[in-house]
């Protein structure tokens, strides 16, 4: 039996993947280069802009947003102020701004791409059957693996970091958009159709508003996943808090590693609570 199995030649899956990558790198190099340089420039400018804001003003703005978004409760507001002051105090402010840019970009692009894909998926059974396994694949493949094509396409830096983060973080937005639209009660869809709505009227007036809270839950997941890629992306040169964690790891500096990690946790808690608080239904 084992002989028989050994007689099957090894399938060159790795080679196929490699040559597909090579082909893409060669043929789309212009596109990738353009994305790389423009992306890098855009993100650098945003990081620069963020760092020119006086930290105290930045903290104040976040505090006000937190205060309003949490329904004028003090908990999140106080936590944001103390947490951000701590990060500033630990001399991690510039790193935080880099991380903000990375997470912001990865999340925004994920949302911009993810919601339309989710809508297509909800409208077509065929699309759902094709996209679902791809999403499963994207989510179960270890995040590190995405670094390899990212480097091949974009070299090192923040752009490949964003690329890898998007692949890792986009599935929840797609899935939850699909789910949210499919969960709209049938009677409401029928009501909308019975009044003679066009498909887009139905989508924008009824389905998307009713799916909003589900979609927002997906976006929250996407932001969190993008944040979890920060450390991994730093391995290919993405700047930010992740790089501090990585260098502490490489030098076995427990203290520095803990502080940088704590910075990430604080940032994660703030954006998690903020994105969740945008998700309150006004009609409930």
């Amino acid at each position: 039996m084992s002989n028989f199995l050994d007689n099957i030649p090894r399938l060159p899956v790795a080679d196929w993947t490699q040559s597909a990558m090579d082909w893409m790198t060669k043929n789309f190099s212009g596109l990738f280069d353009a994305l790389q340089s423009n992306g890098e420039w855009l993100m650098d400018s945003i990081t620069n802009l963020l760092t020119t804001i006086p930290p105290i003003l930045f903290i104040l703005i976040i505090a006000i947003i937190a205060f309003l978004a949490s329904g004028k409760k003090l908990g999140l507001t106080i936590f944001s102020i103390i947490g951000l002051l701590f990060i500033y105090n630990q001399n991690l402010w510039d790193e935080l701004m880099n991380t903000v840019t990375l997470v912001l970009f990865a999340s925004l692009i994920s949302i911009i791409l993810g919601i339309p894909i989710g809508i297509i998926m909800s409208k077509s059974k065929w699309a759902e059957e094709v996209i679902k396994p791809i999403l499963d694949f994207m989510q179960t493949m270890p995040g590190f693996v995405y670094l390899i094509p990212a480097v091949a396409f974009f070299g090192i830096g923040v752009v490949p970091g964003v690329f890898a983060s998007i692949i890792f973080a986009i599935p929840p937005t797609i899935r939850f958009t699909n789910l949210g639209i499919r969960q709209v009660p049938k009677e409401l869809v029928e009501a909308s159709e019975s009044f003679g709505s066009t498909p887009s009227q139905k989508l924008f007036k009824i389905e998307l508003p009713l799916a909003k809270s589900t979609i927002m839950a997906g976006i929250n997941q996407t932001v969190m996943l993008a944040l979890s890629m920060v450390v991994i992306a730093s391995m290919i040169g993405a700047p930010g808090l992740g790089r501090k964690v990585l260098s502490a790891l490489q030098r076995a500096q427990v203290g520095n590693g803990f502080v940088a990690g704590l910075g990430l946790v604080i940032f994660a808690i703030i954006i998690d609570r903020l994105t969740q608080s945008f998700n309150k239904k006004k009609y409930e």
């Binding site: 909308s192 159709e193 009044f195 003679g196 709505s197 239904k281």
Partner: protein, 399 residues
């Protein structure tokens, strides 16, 4: 005038539609077909037409295909075959845009669980139909507010649906459909989710509204009492087929088969049957030609002690009793005009039995049933009680 016409319409859910349709033709039941072919027959070979201004009730138990049938009318569900005409236009052959226009302008729907959009205020809900038609903001606001005002809900226009009670939500559902001013209203179990008292109130409101607006209404229900209360005509469905169409009275007095008979047995007959249905033949005497002796002999012949007095044109004059007739005969009177008592109580032929009951309870004599001021029959206490008892007896047997 004919408004809606449905011609041999069928709907089969699943793949082997032709095979299934053949099986139904051969009289196979829904269950057998599902087993053999894996398809569900929603509606089979339904044909009927509805006149303008009519309330047409489609009644059946759950799974009888009534909700599918109403959705075929506006093609929320696509018919498998058959034709559906509205104002002579074939809905089932229309393209998407033509269909949208029909939905926008001709018919709107009211749903069992109200179908209100939870993220829109009452006003925004009411505006919806006008909004998708692209009517300007001021105009649609004004129309929607008018519709809410008619429903007595204008004060609630800025609330969200969940803040209103079920009855109020369904009033909004109705107002939303009416804001569009459609010719046809499709009401899918519109009152079934409401409490019995509220339901009755809504039925009354619908009937009141209908009196002024004269829409063509297709009303789906599983409640026979509701069907009889509001329907001009009723179609009874079972297993996707229409088994009888007729007025409430026709269905009650002449059920098409055992199933319908079984269905109508527990109806509260007093709310459905009218005086005309249970009246008996009056034994009359003509005041213009008959004398007391003729009257007496007729009483003997028919074994009654009272005759209804009429003239040649069957106009009611009153009644005469045996005692008076006997005395009159002894006196040797030539006619009976003097002994006619004129205090006879009358009811109209379409009075419901439940209303007759109070009248007859206090009446010393039989009650005359009148149609266009002519005598058509009489009611005696025993007949009314018998009619009521018949319904109850059968209902008890089936409980």
């Amino acid at each position: 005038m004919q408004k809606i016409k449905i011609d041999h319409v069928s709907k089969v859910f699943g793949k082997h539609t032709n095979q299934a349709l053949k099986l139904v033709q051969n009289g196979a039941s829904k269950k057998e077909i599902l087993k053999k072919t894996g398809v569900t027959v929603g509606v089979y070979n339904a044909s009927f037409s509805v006149n303008e201004g009519e309330i047409f009730v489609i009644m059946g138990l759950s799974g009888s295909g009534k909700s599918t049938l109403v959705r075929l009318l506006n093609r929320l569900i696509e018919p498998t075959n058959g034709d559906i005409f509205i104002d002579g236009e074939n809905i089932s052959k229309m393209n998407k845009e033509q269909l949208r226009n029909v939905r926008r302008e001709k018919m709107n729907m009211v749903f069992q669980n109200f179908g209100l959009f939870p993220h829109r205020t009452i006003l925004q809900n009411t505006e919806y139909g006008l909004e998708v038609r692209g009517i300007s903001k001021e105009e649609r606001r004004q129309k929607a507010e008018q519709a809410l005002k008619n429903a007595g809900l204008l004060d609630f226009k800025d609330q969200y649906p969940h803040q209103l009670s079920g009855g109020m939500q369904q009033r909004v559902g109705l107002a939303r459909a009416l804001a569009n001013d459609p010719d046809i209203l499709l009401m899918d179990e519109a009152f079934s989710a409401l409490d019995p008292l509220i339901r009755k109130e809504m039925q009354d409101e619908l009937l009141d509204l209908q009196e002024t607006m004269q829409k063509t209404i297709i009303f789906i229900t599983h409640d026979l009492n509701e069907a009889l209360r509001i329907g001009d005509r009723i179609a009874i469905m079972k297993d996707g087929q229409i088994i009888q169409i007729g007025t409430g009275e026709e269905i009650l007095t002449n059920p098409a088969n055992e199933y319908v008979r079984h269905f109508v047995e527990d109806v509260d007959r007093s709310k459905v049957l009218t005086a005309e249905n249970i009246m008996i033949r009056p034994i009359t005497v003509n005041v213009e030609q008959d004398g007391p002796k003729v009257a007496l002999s007729r009483m003997r012949e028919e074994k009654v002690s009272l005759l209804v007095a009429i003239d040649r044109a069957r106009n009611l004059k009153g009644y005469i009793t045996a005692d008076d007739a006997l005395e009159s005969a002894k006196r040797g009177d030539k006619d009976i005009k003097k002994i006619v008592q004129t205090n006879m109580i009358t009811v109209n032929h379409d009075t419901l039995i439940q209303d007759v009951f109070h009248v007859i309870y206090d009446a010393p004599t039989p009650v005359a049933v009148m149609k266009n001021n002519r005598l058509v029959g009489i009611l005696i206490r025993g007949v009314v009680i018998e009619a009521l008892a018949k319904g109850n007896e059968e209902a008890i047997l089936h409980e």
